[in-house]
Amino acid sequence: MSLDKATVRKIGFLARLEIPEEDLEGLAHELNGILGWVEQLQQVNTEGVAPLASVSETRLYWRDDVVTDGAMPEKVLANAPDGLDGYFLVPKVVE
């Protein structure tokens, strides 16, 4: 599998990353390197082996249905570049 520049541009767009045109080639090369390693892993015969969700023997921890968090709007908004009346403000997005 090999990524071309157009695919890298699309991946960047999906992550809302602005990638300068001259960097596309190099990024494609790096990503292709990663995909190469994954292809190598896929050569291992895993027939009859169940997918592994975690290497630890733990199980998913469940919480009780109790409100233990929130009520701290000033902390939640502390890093926001812009805010008003307790809201985050972002450039207008209308669909």
């Binding site: 699309k10 999906l14 992550a15 809302r16 969700a53 975690s54 733990t58 199980r59 998913l60 921890y61 469940w62 919480r63 009780d64 249905d65 109790v66 409100v67 233990t68 968090d69 929130g70 009520a71 701290m72 709007p73 902390k75 939640v76 908004l77 812009d82 008003l84 009346d85 307790g86 809201y87 985050f88 403000l89 972002v90 450039p91 207008k92 997005v93 209308v94 669909e95």
Partner: protein, 485 residues
């Protein structure tokens, strides 16, 4: 079930509909954080660091939300998957601070099930459920507060949703409406979602395509976020007609996401195609698979309430109601409870008629829900008894009922206080009849000469003279005897 067919120039067209319903889970806290899941609140006050996408925060699943999803699955007669997996659905939007929605893709918590629709004509129809999965809701964007900014409130971000996906089994707007209503009733009976479409705790995405009967499925369009039963039906009608028109003009329908414009009753494509989603689902590495035992499921099953279908069958069997009446009475849990309280120990069919007729009309008129009914259910039962044992006539009962609506009074007492008891004393009735005949000798002569139609007029006059209290049977018979011998 009458079919919904669009007659086109190239022959009849059938509509194929599937619904994806997002139902907000009733829980105190969110699906993966300890912040409040309560609707409303000042902006960003129900937000934990996890919900606003702060780094280093880990999701921990809320046990109640798991129980609610299993309970709903059981209520939909669906397969419960004791192992399911959470995935990340990646997309970029300002009200989704994580950059992904935690959802379930390949392995949902609930599999195939069934919903039975009660149609208006008393018939039933089955709609298949494809799956139900758990996921988090996004935040809320306000676009109309500022000329160049959108306002973001994350109170809703992270609240648990059940996405309930139907099979494409519906063939008319009416069926889609009946499906939504039935699904809402089941969720409300189960108390897993409040079903409040206005507040957005239940929203529907509608998939519509058309085809000539017998053809394979054609391309569908998805209409997003329709928020009332009526709008869902309107959107389908419009969208199906649009497909037929495009096909008959030789065009093709492209699979796309559309928006419903409730003011115009039309649909339009979402703005730009370059935003076509590519969600790149993958298993959420922060969450292990969700697993539980059969005992966990059985315990929830043992605690299930009686659901609408079972209640309907019982109302038909125990109370002798028609399927239609039973269907109407079980549609809302509160109505069913009211009816049962009213029918207890009384003539159930008569009680059903009063509830569905005069009571519904009075509630409609006063804008009240059945839970706020001014008439206590026991008093409907008592009113029915008063008619049955001859204390009052059906005609007077209507007046008594109106007083009950106004004052909340007990019918026996109203009858007593207002002196509305039916007169069965033949002497008293005879006196009234004699007076009416004596006052109208011409008409009496006409009846005797054969104009029997006028008998009804005499009955009416005599009833009026008795202030509606004369026993109608006795009155009728007496007038016949007096005038016709």
């Amino acid at each position: 079930m009458s079919s919904y067919i669009i007659e086109g120039e190239t022959g009849p067209w059938e509509v194929v509909i599937g619904l994806e319903v997002h139902a907000q889970v009733i829980s105190a806290a969110k699906l993966f954080s300890g912040a409040s899941a309560t609707f409303g609140g000042d902006p960003n006050t129900h937000v934990a660091f996890l919900d606003c996408g702060m780094p280093g925060m880990l999701p921990v699943i809320n046990a109640e939300c798991v129980r609610q999803a299993v309970k709903t699955g059981l209520g939909l007669n669906a397969q419960i998957n004791r192992r399911s997996v959470f995935d990340r659905k990646n997309y970029f939007y300002a009200d989704l601070p994580l950059g992904y929605q935690i959802s379930q893709f390949a392995h949902p918590i609930v599999g195939e099930g069934t919903v039975i629709l009660d149609m208006k004509d008393g018939t039933s129809r089955e709609v298949g459920i494809e799956r139900l999965h758990l996921e988090i809701d996004a935040g809320k964007s306000l676009h109309d507060q500022h000329p160049s900014k959108s306002f973001i409130d994350l109170n809703r971000a992270g609240v648990a949703l059940m996405e309930i996906v139907s099979k494409p089994d519906m063939r008319s707007p009416e069926e889609a409406g009946a499906y939504l209503k039935k699904l809402r009733a089941i969720l409300r009976y189960l108390e897993t979602c409040d079903g409040n479409m206005e507040e957005g705790s239940m929203r529907a995405d509608v998939n519509v395509s058309v085809r000539h009967p017998g053809e394979p499925l054609r391309t569908r369009c998805e209409i997003k976020n329709v928020n009332s039963v009526r709008f869902v039906m309107q959107a389908i009608e419009y969208e199906a007609a649009r497909h037929v028109e495009v096909y008959e003009q030789g065009g093709i329908i492209e699979q796309e996401t559309r928006l419903f414009d409730s003011a115009k009753g039309t649909t339009r494509p979402m703005r730009s195609k370059e935003f076509a989603h590519d969600y790149r689902y993958f298993p959420d590495p922060d969450l292990l698979p969700l697993e539980f035992t059969q005992e966990f499921v059985d315990e929830i099953k043992a605690g299930l309430p009686e659901l609408p279908d079972a209640k309907k069958a019982r109302f038909i069997g125990d109370y002798g109601l028609t399927p239609y009446d039973a269907g109407v009475l079980v549609a809302e849990k509160e109505t069913a409870a009211y009816f049962e309280a009213a029918a207890e120990g009384h003539d159930a069919k008569a009680v059903a008629n009063w509830v569905m007729g005069d009571l519904f009309a009075a509630l409609n008129r006063t804008g009240k829900s059945i839970a706020e009914s001014p008439v206590a259910p026991e008093n409907i039962g008592r009113l029915v008894d008063l008619i049955k044992d001859g204390t009052i006539s059906g005609r007077i009962a209507k007046d008594v009922f109106e007083i009950m609506v106004e004052t909340g009074g007990e019918p026996g007492r109203i009858v007593e206080e207002k002196g509305l008891k039916q007169v069965t004393d033949t002497g008293a009735i005879e006196k009234v009849v004699d007076e009416v005949i004596a006052a109208n000798p011409d008409k009496a002569a006409e009846v005797k000469a054969g104009k029997e139609k006028l008998l009804g007029w005499f009955v009416g006059q005599a009833m009026k003279a008795s202030q509606g209290k004369a026993n109608p049977g006795i009155l009728n018979e007496m007038i016949r005897k007096k005038l016709l011998g």
